[in-house]
Symmetry: D2
Subunit: 320 residues, 4 copies
C-alpha cells in the first residue's frame, strides 16, 4: 500500500461545485444547511464545517451550467506534491500547477490533473487557517455539518478505477460489492486514506460523473432535524433518499439534491479503521440490506443521475 509510495495523501479535502445562481445556492448551503461562509468573491463562496480549522471544504463557483470543477485531496507535506507530479509524469499524465491565489482562495500551491478515469483531481498541502467554531455551539446551525467526508464517483470500470486509487495513490479498500456471477464482477468499492470507511467510493455507472459528496454531521438527530427544516422551508423535493441506515459503512444518511441538482449526502456513524490489515467487507449485489440496512430501496434517480465533471485545463483558455 502506501508504505511503498513516496507521498502521503491524507484525505478528501474539498469539492468545487459549479452552480448557476450563487444566491440560491447560498440560501441552501449557508442559510439552510448551516455551512459556514469563510470568504466570498463576486462569483465564488468558500464554505467550511464547524469542525474545520481550515479555509474551506466546499467551493461554490457561479457558472453557466452545473458541473463539478474539481475534487481535492490534501497531502502531508509540500514535497508530496512534487512526488505526485513525478508519478504523473511517469504515467504521461498531463497536469498543471495552480499558483496560490490564482484560481482558488485560501490555498497554497496545487497540482491539478484529469485523472485516467476522467475526473478533475487536485492535490494541495497548504491551506489558510480559519476560526475554529467547534465549541461555538451558537454557530452550529441547520445540519451542523462538521467536515467533508468523501467523494462518490460513477466509473465505467470499477476494477480498473480501484487499481488507480489503490496501486498508484495508496488507498485501501474497506468494503466492496460484487456480483454473484461465477466469476464475480466488482460493482463498487469504498476506498480510504484517512482511517474511516472511505475518502472515495467508486460505483459502476456512466462516468466520469460525480454521484455525490458526503459531509459528516455529529449525530442522527442532526439528520432528522435537517429533514424537518427542509420540509418547513419548502425544500421538499431536495430530499431524494432517506433518512436511513446504510448496510455498507453502517452510516446513517440523508441524500439531498442542491438547487442545481448536485447530490449531497449527510452522513454520520461510520467506524474507525486505524488497524492495519483491515479485511474488506464483502457485499453481494443482490443483498437487500447492502444499500439500506433497513431494506427500503433507493429511488431510480439515485442510480441514474449524477454531476458532469469539468476539465482541469478548460479554465486556462478562459483566463487568457
Amino acid at each position: 500500500m502506501s508504505e511503498d509510495l513516496d507521498f502521503d495523501i491524507l484525505r478528501s479535502a474539498h469539492i468545487e461545485l459549479k452552480v448557476t445562481d450563487l444566491e440560491r445556492s447560498r440560501e441552501f448551503y449557508v442559510k439552510t444547511l448551516g455551512l459556514v461562509e469563510t470568504e466570498a468573491t463576486s462569483n465564488q463562496i468558500y464554505l467550511r464545517g464547524v469542525e474545520d480549522r481550515s479555509h474551506h471544504c466546499l467551493v461554490l463557483t457561479e457558472a453557466a451550467k452545473p458541473s463539478v470543477g474539481h475534487l481535492s485531496f490534501r497531502v502531508r507535506t509540500e514535497k508530496d506534491l512534487d512526488m505526485l507530479a513525478k508519478l504523473f509524469n511517469g504515467g504521461k499524465l498531463s497536469y498543471r500547477w495552480i499558483q496560490p491565489g490564482s484560481l482558488e482562495k485560501g490555498q497554497g500551491r496545487a497540482l491539478r490533473l484529469q485523472d485516467p478515469l476522467g475526473f478533475p483531481m487536485e492535490f494541495f498541502f497548504e491551506m489558510e487557517e480559519a476560526e475554529w467554531l467547534w465549541q461555538s455551539f451558537d454557530r452550529h446551525l441547520g445540519a451542523r455539518i462538521m467536515r467533508i467526508d468523501h467523494f462518490n464517483l460513477f466509473v465505467s470500470d470499477v476494477k480498473e478505477a480501484s487499481e488507480w486509487y489503490v496501486k498508484k495513490l495508496g488507498f485501501q479498500c474497506t468494503e466492496y460489492t460484487e456480483t454473484e456471477d461465477e466469476i464475480p464482477k466488482l460493482w463498487a468499492t469504498w476506498l480510504k486514506r484517512k482511517p474511516t470507511v472511505h475518502d472515495v467510493a467508486l460505483m459502476i455507472g456512466s462516468g466520469p460523473r460525480v454521484h455525490h459528496a458526503g459531509f459528516y454531521v455529529p449525530d442522527q438527530q442532526a439528520i432528522l432535524r435537517t429533514a424537518d427544516l427542509l420540509a418547513s422551508k419548502g425544500y421538499l423535493r431536495s430530499m431524494e433518499r432517506g433518512p436511513g441506515r446504510h448496510g455498507i459503512s453502517n452510516a446513517f444518511f440523508l441524500y439531498l439534491r442542491d438547487p442545481d441538482g448536485h447530490r449531497i449526502e449527510l452522513y454520520t456513524g461510520d467506524y474507525l479503521s486505524v488497524d492495519p490489515g483491515w479485511k474488506p467487507i464483502r457485499w453481494k449485489l443482490n443483498d437487500p440490506q447492502r444499500q439500506t440496512f433497513w431494506g427500503a430501496p433507493a429511488p431510480e434517480s439515485w442510480f441514474k443521475e449524477a454531476s458532469e465533471v469539468d476539465s482541469v485545463f478548460q479554465e486556462e483558455a478562459a483566463q487568457d
Copy 2:
C-alpha cells in the same frame, strides 16, 4: 361535546389481536419490540408497556386465522358502562356483558357491541394493577413501548363514522383530510378523548377493517433503534413504512407488520390538546406533506391492506 353526555370515555385502552402462532408472536412483540408480559394462558398473552400501571394494552389470542378480536376503551366510572348500555339500547344496538374473568384476564365487567360501523368495540372501567416499570430502565427493551396510543380504522363513509364517534360518544376532531372538490369530501379524521391528537383515526377504505394500532414510544431514538434491531434480527419485511415524520399529528413514526400481517405503528412526538375549542387542522388530500411531512409517499400495501374484524357475538356460541 362530551359535556352533554352522561358518560365519560377516557381513552383507547387495548386491542385484541388474533394470531396464528402464539410463540412466533411472542418472539416479535416481547423479545423484539420489548412489550412486557403480564400474564399468559395456553392460548393468550397479555402485554403492557413500560409506562402502564394496569394489566394490559395488547392481548394476543391464538386462532385459526388472523383478525382483530376487539378494540377496547376505558371509561371513567363503573356507572359509565350502564349509561353506555342505555345509549346502545336507545339506538337498538345489540350488546353483551363480559363478566370479569370470563373471556379476558385482569379486567372487570365489560360491555361489548358491534358498533354501527361494524367494529367489535369494548368498554370497561376496572383493570388489575400491574407493576409499574417506568423507572426500571433495565426492563425497557426493544422499542421501549410506553403505552397504546390509538386505533386507526378503515371505514367506507368517514363522515357518518365520525358522527358516531363525535355526536354519540363525545370524541373531538383534532385534524382531518378532505378532497378539494367543489363540495369537499371528508377523507379521514383524527378523533380524541384523551388530550392528545387521537384515540381513533378514521380513514376512507374498504371497511370495517383495522388499519393499525398505534403504540407510543419515548423518542425518535427508540424508533431508529427498533429499525436497527429488526434489520439485525431478520425482520426486514416487517418494516412497511418509515421511519419518518407525519404531516398530520406531526408524530415521528415507523409502521410494522407483525408475523400475521397486523399493522402496528410506533409513534412519538405528537402534541397535547388540553385546551377547549381546538380548531381542527385541515389537510388537503393532495398535499404531499400530509402523510409524510418529508414528502416520501407511503407504499401501496399501506393503502390497501388491513386486518379483518371479528363479531363480538361469535365466541358465545363457541363457549356453549
Copy 3:
C-alpha cells in the same frame, strides 16, 4: 375530586415575571432559549412556545425589582370564572376582575386573587389565537420550548397548601415526598389538573415564593443542546442544576436562572396520567434518587433561593 366542583380548571397556563431590564431578558428568553415573541409593548413582552396556539405562556414585565406578578390557570368555560368567584366569596377571599385589554394583552376577562397561601393567582378562559409554529421547524430555536408545563412553589405548610389545591380547586396528587418520622410529615406534593405529572408542585420552604416555572421541551437532545448554547454564549452561571433525570416525575431536566435570578426548568419526558384512581407515588425524604434519579445532589442555592411574589392588588393603586 373535580367531579363534585362546578368549575373545571384545565391547566397552568402562564406566568408573569417582573424583570429589571427588558432587553436583557429578551436576549435570554427569545434569542437564546428561543421562545417566540407574540407581541411587545414598551414595558412588556408576551412569549409563547412552538406548540402554543394561543397568545402567551410567559409575560415579561419591566419593573424596579424582580418578582412574580401572577400565576395563571386556564378554565374550561367563561362561566367557570363566575363559579370560582363564588367559591372565593364563600371563603371571604378578596379578588378582582381584570378587564380584557386592561392589564394583560391577548387575554379575556380574568379573575385575580391572593390565594390563602399568599400567591397572586389568576384564572381566565379566553385568549387570542396566535400562529401555530408546530410544523415550522425553521422557527424552533434554542431550547425549542413547546409550552409551559407547571409552577413550583415554596410554601411553609405543604399539607395545608395541598388541601387548598385538592379540596377547593380539584387538583389530584400524582407523587409526594414525606419524612420517615413515626408520624410522617408531608414534604412536597405534585398536583395536576391536565393529565400529566403536575400543574403545581408544592415544596416546603420559606413562602410564599415561586421556586420555578417549568417549560416543556420535545426531547433530551433539546436540553443538552441548550446547555451547549448557554455555555457558548456566556451564560455559564445561568445553569444551576442538571442536565439530569428526576426521580420524582422521571422527567429529564435542566434548571436555569434568568438574568434576574428567576428560576426556569426545561423539562421533558414525564408520563400521561389519564386514568382515574392514580395511586400517588410515595418518595421518602432521604431517598437519594428522589430529586436526581442518578444520585447527584442539588446545589444549596436550589434549596434556598426563589422569587418573591407580588400582590394582585398593588397595581390598582398604580393605575389610579
Copy 4:
C-alpha cells in the same frame, strides 16, 4: 514527530485491570455496560466492544487487590516491536518479551516494559480476529461501547512525561492545560497517535497511577441510557461525574467507578485530527469550562483517586 522514528505506534489498544471478584466485575462490565465477552479462563475475562474486530480491548484478571496490570498499544508491523526494543535498549530500559499464549490470550508476541514514568506498558502487533458485531444491533447492549479510546494517567511531572511520549514514541499534542504563572507550568496534555484527540492524557498528580481508561460510545443517548440503567440496577455510587460535556476534547462524558474502584470514562463526540500541523489548543488552568464546558466542577474524588499500577516483571517470578 513519528516521521523520524523507525516504528509506528497505531493507538491505545487495551488495558488489563486486576479485579478482586471476577463475577462481580462481569456483572458490571458485561451484563450492565454491555461489553462483549470473547473468551474467559478461570481467572480472566477478555472483552471487546461492538466495533472491535479483534480479540479484546479490556482484560479483567482476578487478583488479591485491584491494580492496573498493563497498558497496551498496537503497532503497525511486527518489526516495529524490534525497533522499540532497540530504542529501550539504547535508553537502558529493561523490558521483557511475552510469548504468544503465555500470559495473554489472543495476542501475538508482545514487548513489555516499565516506562520511565513507572507505568507497565505493552506493545504488540498481532491479535486474533473476533466476530464483528457492528451490524448485529441486537447485541449492542447497555452503554453500547464501541472500542477503547484512551488512557488517562497521573504523573508527577507532565512536561517530562509528555517529552517521553512525544520525542521518544512519536505522539502529538492536541490540547494542553497550563498555569497562568509568569512562567506557565504544564498541567496536563492530550497526546495522540490515531487521528482523534488522544490515546494518552497526562495529568499532574501523584503517580504513576492510572486515572481512567476511556471507552468510545456511539452517541450522547448511549450515555444518558447508561445513567438510567445504572440507577435502575443499584449502581448509584458508580456514577462519579457527569453526564456532561468536556471543554477539553469537547467530548460528552460519564465517569464511572467499577466495583473495585477503577475509573472508566464513557466518551463520545470528540473530533478527527487527520491534518498535519494541528496547533495544540491551550486551556488556562483557571478556566471554569476547561473540565466541564457547562461549568459544573468535578467532585474531589475525581482529582485524588486513581488506580495503582503493577510492575511488568512481577508475574515472571510467580510463573516460575
